[in-house]
């Protein structure tokens, strides 16, 4: 078997040789600067520690990273169909599954890259603006860096679920617009929808994807603020969705005629 990594290499080339990827990264870095900059300029001299504003800063950064990863995921398969390049891509001595896998791997690498950059950049800029401290956090006495690493890990996991869904829609409907729209609706509107359904008080609401996307809840509490379930439950539900998304994506991609 010759090198599968070459396929991933190809997909990487198609992501990073486009200016838009670097524009997205630039915007991400700039937006993350806004919070510490405003705090310094208009904070009125109140002393803030470098960790105090990180939650807002991270929320912005991760939101942007998610949006970008969703855009890339949506384009990845649907884009090949809309430009017609899929026909040249598929007529190579590789199975469809492996070509799709190379795309998915490149997508996860992209997501990891952007989340890692967000993490590093936010910690670094906070430190530069407010100076370094390492007081243990709250009641648990956990080291702040440790806490934030966990925070980003949880956020990364939910991001993977979101982009996997975008990848699925991109593959099944071959429409990048639909993939972006639906995934972002899930991301932004999911909480609201869950809140409404929760008022009905059915047990199955706890199994909805929306209701299990707030993994960072578990940093401060043993149970979810939405479902009231422990982390094992949430991870199991997410895992179930994840496997189902992948199964649908691959089986549809393998079966379909490429016209």
């Amino acid at each position: 078997m010759f090198d599968f990594l070459q396929l991933v290499n190809n997909e990487n080339m198609k992501i990073y040789r486009r200016p838009r990827t670097w524009i997205m990264l630039g915007i991400l870095l700039l937006m993350s600067l806004v919070i510490p900059l405003m705090a310094t300029l208009y904070g009125g001299g109140t002393s803030v520690s470098m960790w105090d504003l990180l939650l807002v800063q991270s929320a912005i950064g991760i939101m942007l990273a998610t949006v970008y990863a969703v855009v890339i995921a949506a384009e990845m398969v649907a884009g090949e169909f809309s430009t017609g390049t899929i026909k040249l891509l598929m007529i190579r001595p590789w199975s469809r599954s492996k070509i799709l896998l190379s795309k998915y791997v490149a997508l996860l690498l992209f997501a990891l890259f952007f989340v890692a950059v967000t993490f590093g950049w936010n910690i670094l800029t906070s430190m530069l603006f407010f100076g370094y401290t390492d007081e243990p956090m709250g009641a648990s006495g956990i080291h702040p860096l440790n806490y934030w690493m966990q925070y980003y890990l949880y956020e990364f996991l939910t991001l993977v679920i979101t982009v996997t869904l975008a990848f699925l829609i991109s593959t099944v409907f071959r429409s990048s617009g639909l993939a972006i729209g639906l995934s972002l609706f899930l991301l932004l509107g999911g909480g609201i929808v869950t809140g409404i359904i929760r008022m009905l008080d059915y047990a199955w609401v706890d199994y909805l994807l929306f209701a299990n996307m707030a993994l960072t809840d578990y940093l401060n509490s043993d149970v979810s603020t939405i479902t009231g379930k422990p982390i094992g439950f949430t991870l199991a539900v997410l895992g179930g969705y994840y496997v189902a998304f992948l199964a649908i994506t691959w089986s549809v991609f393998n079966k379909r005629d490429i016209a």
């Binding site: 078997m1 010759f2 070459q6 396929l7 290499n9 190809n10 080339m13 198609k14 040789r17 486009r18 430009t83 017609g84 390049t85 026909k87 040249l88 598929m90 007529i91 190579r92 001595p93 590789w94 199975s95 079966k255 005629d257 490429i258 016209a259």
Partner: protein, 318 residues
């Protein structure tokens, strides 16, 4: 086969008489409609093989099945005896193709596009990429973005990616679409050269009859998803027994009387009959000796177009 050494096609001796492509009862149904109906066809090695049919006759569908983009409802396609359904990854190594338009990644340069496809096939070296770039004559522009290319240049880039791994079979779907006459001519010469010098079998589809006539050794005619005929180009010219011939003369009526023995008739003021070479010469002498002026003698050779219209019953667009 050892995938690491040379490109797939290079290892194959140009064994001639074995067909490169064998289609057996290939059928494609979409819903209740039968798009391709029981197509059985062999493409001999080293030829430029034309696949001719009106729009919507199933040419592209057949090609998509040949390269594995579409599944077969029934039947089997073998490429160098590897089944496209059972051993896809082996079979496709012998194939280079452009399906419909040569769509490339526009935001990449021509070279990056070639690199992209080269990475997917084992054994393609940087030298080979450069060689192919020279071969298709893109040397000066290969590091420009594809979005700046003209259609002719994209077509050449498409050919480059298709022949990079030295395939045994080159499949081109409507390659002359959108090309200007100079581009068409260039492509035609190029395909003939590939078949002659590199021993590549070229399978080319088109609805342009005149094109196929100039380009191909053999043509399969398809209509409504059915194979109607396979014929060798140029064959009919060799076996001319009787040719229909037109005489342009100053006094058609007088000429008609002179040549009634040959079964001559008048058509649009022209004297016409069917005869062999000697009869034509003799008829000319008769007319001249009788003092008639012969302005022109024209042989009517059946073009592929006539044959096509004959076999398809004059139906052009289905």
């Amino acid at each position: 086969m050892t995938p690491s050494s040379a490109p797939a096609g290079a290892q194959v001796p140009p064994s001639d008489r074995q067909p490169v492509v064998r289609m057996q009862g290939v059928t494609k149904r979409i819903g209740k409609r039968t798009i391709i109906d029981n197509l059985t066809l062999e493409v001999p090695s080293g030829e430029v093989f034309g696949f001719l049919g009106p729009n919507g006759s199933g040419k592209t569908t057949t090609i998509r099945m040949m390269v594995g983009l579409m599944k077969l409802s029934q039947g089997e396609i073998f490429i160098r005896e590897h089944s496209i359904t059972g051993a896809y990854e082996q079979a496709i190594r012998y194939v280079g193709a452009i399906v419909e338009n040569p769509e490339m990644y526009k935001y990449l340069t021509g070279y990056q596009n070639l690199l992209h496809f080269a990475r997917m096939i084992p054994g393609i070296t940087k030298q080979r990429i450069d060689e192919v770039v020279q071969l298709v004559g893109l040397g000066a522009r290969i590091h420009d973005k594809v979005k700046t290319y003209s259609l002719g240049m994209r077509q050449r880039l498409g050919v480059a990616q298709a022949i990079m791994h030295k395939p045994a079979l080159l499949i081109l779907d409507e390659p002359t679409n959108g090309l200007d006459p100079a581009g068409i001519r260039e492509l035609r010469d190029y395909l003939r050269q590939l078949a002659r010098e590199e021993g590549i079998t070229v399978f080319v589809s088109s609805h342009l009859l005149s094109e196929m006539e100039l380009m191909c050794d053999r043509v399969a005619i398809i209509q409504n998803g059915r194979l109607i005929d396979v014929r060798q180009i140029g064959q009919h010219q060799g076996e001319v027994a009787l040719t229909k011939v037109f005489f342009e003369v100053d006094q058609p009526q007088a000429a008609l009387e002179l040549l009634t023995g040959l079964g001559a008739v008048l058509e649009d003021g022209m004297l016409t009959f069917e005869g062999d070479r000697e009869q034509i010469a003799a008829a000319n002498i008769t007319l001249v000796q009788a003092g008639l002026k012969v302005y022109g003698i024209r042989k009517h050779t059946k073009t592929l177009e006539d044959q096509f219209l004959e076999v398809t019953g004059g139906e052009r667009i289905v």
